[in-house]
């Protein structure tokens, strides 16, 4: 028996999201009195792989097969299935991001393993196996009971945090049995948004809405994000108007995020928007309308003109950072 955690790297390095996942899976393995195995696909140096040990993974499996360098849902599912079988894993943990969404449900159907997506905590009970998740895009939580011997959990981003639990990780190569016929997805070209903080992983998010009046006014938003090392985001009308890309849209039909700090500039706070940000730890709202619903979920607020407040805020934060 074991817990298997699937971790992703970017250009051969693990980031916070991967370590949060290992921390989460390590707590479950500990609760169940079993061992934790991490699985990583792709070209990752062995000293990087062994970093998973700092968060509780006693074994790290690496598959270095160039055919797996790009996401192929069916082929990746087959690889993970073989690792699950080799390690006799009864719990499989993945991130709830793009890869998790693509792979975890396929794996669930393949293994007939019940799945909970967007889990917000470790299981509240192991018998019956019960995991809390967000439902109605954060407007409610549900306790889901998994009734199968093998269980799959995808963790909502920033829901658990990174916790050190150092063990020595044994790094092992894993060679799954896949044939060329297993690969059906041909990637013609790819585009990376390099140098940017990933919205779903960001500690701080600077977001703006229609109160910005037009895309030409986004300079101070970008500047504040850069001063804070934050990701930028926007409300739905802004993405729909084409002022900002859809990838930045947070809310019920966009991305659901849970950063430490969420700045909302010129966002009224419609219920669909709030659903996507309500798990943020500290929310700061600036809006000219004192009745804007965003103030009912914010921790700190300023009623005022965003164009006037932003430059002062940037200046003041720079001064604090310089101290």
């Amino acid at each position: 028996m074991s817990v298997l955690v699937f971790i992703e790297h970017r250009e051969g390095k693990f980031h916070k999201g991967a370590f949060e996942l290992v921390s989460y899976a390590s707590r479950i393995a500990n609760d169940m009195g079993t061992s934790l195995v991490a699985l990583s696909l792709g070209d990752v140096p062995s000293d990087e792989l062994s970093k998973a040990g700092a968060y509780g993974a006693g074994k790290v499996l690496n598959v270095n097969d160039s055919r797996l360098s790009q996401l192929d849902n069916a082929a990746w599912t087959k690889v993970i299935e073989q690792a699950v079988q080799q390690e006799s894993a009864t719990v499989i943990v993945m991130a709830s991001g793009f890869t998790g969404k693509a792979i975890a449900p396929r794996l669930s159907a393949r293994l007939r393993a019940g799945m909970v997506a967007y889990a917000t905590a470790v299981p509240s009970s192991y018998n019956p196996f019960t995991v809390r998740k967000k439902t109605f895009s954060g407007k409610a939580f549900s306790d889901v009971v998994i009734n199968t011997p093998v269980r799959i959990i995808t963790l909502a981003p920033n829901a658990f945090g990174v916790h050190e639990a150092p063990v020595t990780a044994e790094v092992k190569q894993f060679t799954p049995s896949v044939t060329d016929a297993d690969f059906t997805t041909k990637v013609e070209s790819s585009e990376k948004f390099s140098g940017k903080v990933l919205l779903t992983e960001a500690d701080i998010v600077v977001s703006a809405g229609r109160g910005m009046k037009g895309p030409e006014n986004w300079g101070p938003i970008e500047e504040l994000a850069s001063v804070l090392g934050a990701a930028t985001a926007c409300s739905r009308p802004v993405a729909d108007e084409g002022w900002r890309p859809h990838t930045e849209h947070v809310g019920q039909t966009g991305k659901v995020i849970a950063p430490n700090v969420y700045f909302a500039f010129g966002i009224s706070g419609a219920i669909q928007h709030v659903a996507g940000i309500s798990s943020s730890k500290v929310i700061i709202a600036v809006n000219k309308d004192p009745e804007a619903p965003i103030f009912s979920v914010a921790d700190y607020g300023i009623v005022g003109d965003v164009q006037k407040v932003l430059p002062q805020l940037i200046q003041s934060i720079k001064e604090v950072k310089a101290q």
């Binding site: 069916a74 439902t135 409610a140 700090v261 300023i302």
Partner: protein, 249 residues
């Protein structure tokens, strides 16, 4: 080729969620039901493809797993422009049961392109499309933000962590679509609404698939304490609070 769009029936996105007295379920009274927003975009894109590719696409069908109360939502999809509809007569317990019932439907009525929204706005599982593809043994592409037919292949764009990819695959496939797949969802025209009344809506018996999970208690997020207001003339005070009180900057 034919396109099937899998639909989910969800509370309107402006719904305030209330729970039943014993917290065992969501209080569904007074809720307005709509087509899941992503599914509605998928249907819109399917119709755009059918209309712009001549005779290439024979028909666009829609399917849903649910009891008779979901039929108004299926009729709406027919009013938007779907050619016919299937309803699998079962109140599903979880995503796996939905996927398995849809797989049964597709095995009996094959489709080359199957579109699913990336998640439903009620249970937010992002599971049905992926599970369905595995049960059918089809290629699946997730987080799809554009889809078109090109030289007998399906060309797609998918979002990945920190980027996007252009992909080419052969049918049959399950495409799991997100925002961007269509600009705005189509709204039924008066003519569409009239036509929808006579379009075929087939009711199929459940194939008896199992569920793998069950829902226990529900709870609501804890309300926040009052917002601390700072004067617009005193922005540095906000920064001071964030630095020394909230300790986030």
């Amino acid at each position: 080729m034919n396109i099937l769009v899998c639909l989910s029936n969800v509370p309107d996105t402006t719904t305030r969620i209330k729970l039943a007295a014993d917290n065992s379920k969501v209080d569904l009274s007074g809720i307005q039901w709509v087509i899941n927003p992503w599914d509605e975009l998928a249907l819109t894109r399917a119709l755009e493809i059918k209309e712009t590719t001549g005779t290439l696409v024979g028909k666009v069908s829609v399917a849903m797993v649910g009891k008779t109360e979901v039929e108004p939502t299926l009729r709406k999809a027919l009013a938007i422009g779907a050619d016919d509809a299937f309803r699998v007569d079962l109140d599903p317990a979880d995503a796996f049961q939905v996927a398995a019932e849809l797989a049964g439907l597709i095995k009996a009525n094959p489709y080359e392109i199957i579109l699913c929204g990336i998640e439903s706005s009620d249970y937010n599982g992002s599971m049905v499309g992926g599970m369905l593809s595995e049960l059918l043994g089809y290629t699946s592409i997730s987080s799809v933000s554009s889809l078109s037919l090109q030289d007998g292949k399906v060309a797609l764009t998918r979002e990945i962590d920190g980027g996007k990819e252009t992909i080419s695959v052969s049918a049959p496939l399950v495409a799991i679509v997100q925002k961007g797949i269509a600009i705005d969802p189509r709204i039924p025209s008066m003519r569409g609404i009239m036509a929808s009344r006579t379009k075929p809506l087939s009711v199929l018996a459940s194939c008896g698939s199992p569920s793998l999970t069950s829902f226990g208690n529900f709870s609501l997020p804890v309300p926040k304490s009052a917002c601390r207001m700072v004067d617009a003339e005193n922005v540095p005070e906000l920064v001071r609070l964030l630095h020394s009180e909230a300790k986030v900057i």
